[in-house]
Symmetry: C2
Subunit: 470 residues, 2 copies
């Protein structure tokens, strides 16, 4: 059976005709995620219960994890207690906790009622860790070996207890008091002598994290040290869980998605886009638009107080959008580079001055190129008639000079707006970060507002005071 | 020795005093990346050569990979041929290729001259794969076993050839003709009988990729199927390399950084922010600002043709920034959600209508909330004197109605701009993606321009035609 041929119709037919052998074969040949995807679309969820009765729990535990949240919920409702026990005992605790987090209270208690005491304690403990900490993503199924064992004894033990562990590629070594000593990679067993003591081959410099370490920091540590798994220690430095690389891959994806959302002024979604309703979606986006609108009051104030100028010289209004857009875009460029650099740990507030100096020089160069180009563009627009500016009684050289004045005014303002926006683009994310807040969410609105207001003030200052246009 | 105590000064001192034992101890106790970080700052690179003479090549190969590109380059210059051979024979081919890609031609040929023939062939082959394909990130050091072996024979073989492989956790099984048959996870050996044939325990449904598969697609496959390693097949379906999860972690980070850069209108940097010079940085950002400025010609055209209206009713200028900003921000929100959803494979062009319908309803809701709020805000601004609007000879109820008209005009325009921008925010990325182009880079400029122009046209249409304000 090929993955390409798996469809909801096929699955429904196999179930309806009670094709036990074919269903089992399906799970052996096709990855569970591919089956789950078509199973999510099944018309009667009750049919799926038959799959859980038929297929080995090794497969169904993974299959269940891959199903969508609402199908999982309906299934837990439908399962008898013994079916639930079968499923849960084959599942990893961190996976159980993952789907329990989205379930209503009655189903949570249904699950807690049927699991054994140790699992219940583990689940409750994991559910209690703050979201986005190492504790909340760790699992409690790992191989922990006493440092006194020999390599041969250790391999025997791994054979016995390894089936239930989330990874057997990293073994965690503790002393008699369960204090963490170090890790052993499985390949070291392959290359070691059977009678060697495992304490000798354990890597005692192994990196660890605490239960309250932020998951983004855990991800940075995995990347920096090329880890496959890491030990999570509690406040007493005892081994209390582990995190494996596949969970880190999810964390990285989630964190990148969140940062992108925040930069685009969307409060990060708890679920996927598909699973987020229309009303919720509107509530995740509207507050930011409203907040920015409130901050735009300052720009309106500036414009309002220069209404006379705008009335007598309407050409000034024509260039306001280009001024606002370019200032905002240029600041946005710098913010994005800063936020990403901070997120991946390339730099931080301590590098502030060095980066500000660099970005200041970048801004001078960008500002120069953009404003020289803009100067030519605006004069061109006026002569091509795209923008109409021909004051009465002025022609020839006098008109040319007049048009140069206007283009020069806009270009100089652009130059200053770019320099300001890029310097703020460094400064504000760094300050926000130094205050231990998230730079992605707060930076853009502030910078847009400050750049808009200062660009307008400069615009009117140059036009009235220096060029005396009005 | 603790990681915290490692400093450039310490390293320099150890080298100056030829403290061979202490240097070796340092590499046993501290991760190479932490040593590399302080080694990058060393004042005389020649001192580092001593480290490579002293420390086991297992460590130095990793250490070399962790050094910065310019330090690597200087070292390759300084190494004798035999030192270079030592280093390279302990390094993985994909790591060698990684640093060779940034080196000048004379150093590339220095390296190619000293490596053995097989490595030279591998390097040349890997260097020839197109950037960002599976071929360009794969490694050629993996464990490939003949399907005819027994479990016991396989373990013996792994012991012998495993030391040089990038991973021993996934074993790749091929038939006599080197056609790929399937994979075996190392833990299956631990749980299998010694005389079993390995063909029986191989996972024949194992997912593979081709040498030309895009690295972003490879990353999606790793995430979807929770893989640790994947086989890369050439055009003849022969096994030609493998990719491991640690390389995928780098790909994910790189792709997320690139998408964020593009959304913020920065051409993705080839190097890190730190390693990119001021001039290069300016060249990565300026073209986008200029491009958007050229596209803003259309907004200028619209404003220019309504200069009479703006002259006689300057209050209209006051609200132009709020209109532009809100339209741009609201479209930006939708684009970010689309681009990320497409990037992580949550949806694609085939889901276009469903998502457009959803986002249309979101837009109605967001537009309604924002414009109702805006209506109140603008009236408030006028009565608080933040925005000055009091036409001559109008007071009391007439003034109130007049102010309601202006606020209403801006609010209705805002509503329409939000709906247009969100619908375009779905449509444009989907079209760009359907054309097999990268939606992140092209979407924002188009949407900003279309939204700006249409918002301004609507603004002036309503004010002149419907409200007959001028």
């Amino acid at each position: 059976m090929e993955k390409e041929n798996v469809s909801t119709a096929l699955l429904e037919e196999l179930i309806k005709n009670r094709q036990v052998e074919k269903i089992r074969q399906l799970f052996e040949l096709v990855p569970t995620i591919d089956i789950a995807e078509v199973a999510n679309e099944i018309s009667d969820i009750r049919d799926l219960v038959f799959v859980f009765k038929t297929v080995k729990s090794d497969y169904t535990a993974e299959f269940f994890t891959d199903l969508s949240a609402d199908v999982q919920e309906k299934l837990v409702h439908l399962f008898t207690d013994s079916e639930l026990v079968n499923l849960l005992s084959a599942s990893y605790t961190d996976d159980i906790v993952d789907f329990m987090e989205d379930m209503p209270a009655n189903l949570v208690s249904k699950i807690l009622k049927v699991v054994d005491k140790k699992t219940r304690t583990d689940i409750n403990r994991l559910l209690n860790y703050k979201e986005d900490t190492a504790g909340s993503i760790m699992t409690t199924e790992y191989i922990e070996l006493d440092s006194a064992l020999s390599v041969k004894e250790a391999i025997e033990k791994i054979r016995v207890i390894g089936q239930d562990a989330e990874t057997i590629y990293t073994i965690f070594v503790t002393d008699k008091k369960r204090n963490f000593l170090g890790t052993i990679d499985l390949d070291q067993f392959v290359f070691s002598k059977p009678d060697q003591n495992i304490e000798e081959i354990a890597d005692k410099a192994a990196i660890t994290v605490g239960v309250n370490t932020d998951q983004e920091d855990v991800a940075s540590i995995f990347k920096r040290y090329n880890l496959n798994a890491i030990a999570v220690l509690n406040e007493d430095q005892r081994l209390t869980g582990i995190i494996t690389i596949d969970d880190i891959v999810d964390v990285m994806e989630q964190e990148a998605t969140e940062d992108m959302s925040k930069m685009a002024l969307v409060t990060p979604l708890e679920d996927s886009y598909k699973d987020t309703g229309v009303i919720k979606m509107a509530l995740k986006t509207t507050p930011w638009l409203v907040a920015l609108m409130i901050m735009a009051v300052f720009s309106s104030m500036v414009l309002s107080s220069f209404q006379d100028v705008l009335s007598s010289l309407a050409i000034l209004s024509v260039f306001i959008p280009v001024l606002m857009d370019t200032g905002g875009n240029s600041g946005g460029q710098t913010i994005a580079l800063m936020i990403r650099g901070i997120a991946v740990g390339e730099f931080g507030p301590k590098d502030f001055l060095r980066i500000l100096w660099k970005e200041f020089r970048v801004a001078l160069l960008v500002g120069l190129m953009v404003s020289v180009f803009a100067f030519g563009l605006f004069i061109g627009e006026m002569y091509l008639g795209i923008v109409h500016y021909a004051p009465e009684n002025i022609t020839g050289t006098a008109l040319f000079l007049e048009r140069m004045k206007i283009s020069g005014l806009v270009s100089i303002t652009l130059f200053i707006a770019i320099v300001i926006s890029k310097c703020l683009g460094v400064t504000i994310p760094m300050i926000v970060r130094a205050l231990k807040k998230d730079p992605a969410l707060i930076s853009a609105p502030f910078i847009t507002t400050i750049v808009d207001v200062s660009a307008l003030l400069i615009y009117f200052f140059i036009s009235t005071q220096i060029f005396q246009l009005v």
